[in-house]
Symmetry: C2
Subunit: 192 residues, 2 copies
DNA sequence: ACTTATGAAAACCGATCAGTAAATGTACCT
DNA sequence: AGGTACATTTACTGATCGGTTTTCATAAGT
């Protein structure tokens, strides 16, 4: 199997796992829906968990690339970019097939914090918070780490709320709350 | 089986499902760990989903009772009580066996919003937000619904963060953010 | 003592689980 | 054409899934 075929497998497995969940999706379904036989899958991934791990790494890369790029496109200054993160989330929430955050679900199904898949989910969250913190620093926040963590809380809460209750208005609520926290953490004249 | 035996079954099933997840827990394990034979279980619950539904209803009742009581005990005024909700969360996060929010996990494993278990999870979240809103009204918030929804976002985000990254400092971050949002939404002199 | 309910336990059902081994193509080399 | 190496499919493993049927133990009624 070529490298691109492998990538295709992981990409398609991502779609299935995201749609149906991890434990609820058997390897037979993965084989059927990706068009790759089980034997071929197990040639590249020792176990189901290994495949899921590859899926999560791909998702991490895709999601963060998308979010960071969208934040750059929608905002001009670090401060603005922190705020428009919630506009990007709004776009995501409204997408067809939005089913919440894959990492929250992974952590929910693999609860033990020692579990490698849980750890991968945790790393994803840490990376996003770190990105926020970088922007908070450049925005002149008094306590960049604090502001970044607060915005992360709003982001996670918004994802959960959008998934459980539906997307309507959630991102807007979160953005408005974020604006308050950002003003409080930077002041009207953050040095962009 | 007496009513109290049934309650005991649901209570013990709750513990197992909360610890190990829904799909990952088979009915044989439930029978073994509750001490109630599968036959006896299926006399009272038509399906596994029915049992889980009973578990979620019990959890909803227990959790909200606990949270509301703790908010009353820790705060004297409506405004204070909104804030100390995050102290109550801190206590929960530090408990042995804390594994995140059962309803977030239920919604993660039963993703379709039409699914009855997902709907039960959604109702739980709505009830808590409604409780917040009642307090926000009595605290004299300018827009009680908005404030309640914002605090809910922080709460959900804090639960997710505490579960994925560990409890350390999460509730304190959320409380500090909540304080900012509450001050902004009420003003220094909310009429308690 | 013998029958008849009752309720729980044990055994079982087909389906599916993660994972593997054997069988079958298929492409390439000489 | 014949042989070799590799990829793919088919078929299978024992275990477990949610759920049901059968067996058994107990106890009350007569």
């Amino acid at each position: 199997m070529s490298a691109s075929k492998r990538d295709q497998l992981v990409q398609r497995a991502l779609t299935v796992f995201y749609r149906d969940g991890f434990h609820a999706t058997g390897m037979d379904k993965i084989a059927a829906e990706t068009g790759v036989s089980k034997t071929a899958i197990y040639k590249h991934f020792r176990t189901k968990d290994d495949l899921i791990h590859a899926v999560l790494r791909l998702r991490d890369e895709q999601f963060r690339n998308w979010l960071y790029r969208r934040m750059e496109e929608l905002g001009d200054t670090p401060k603005e970019r922190l705020l428009v993160a919630f506009d990007a989330l709004a776009e995501w929430f409204e997408e067809d097939g939005f089913q919440g955050c894959m990492f929250i679900k992974a952590a929910s199904e693999y609860q033990d914090r020692e579990h490698p898949l849980h750890a991968t989910a945790a790393e994803h969250k840490r990376l996003i918070t770190a990105h926020f913190e970088g922007l908070a620093i450049r925005a002149g926040a008094k306590s960049p780490g604090t502001l970044a963590r607060r915005l992360t809380l709003l982001k996670e809460g918004a994802i959960v709320a959008a998934h459980i209750l539906g997307p309507k208005g959630v991102a807007a609520d979160a953005k408005a709350a974020a604006a308050v926290l950002i003003e409080h953490g930077i002041g009207e004249e953050g040095q962009n």
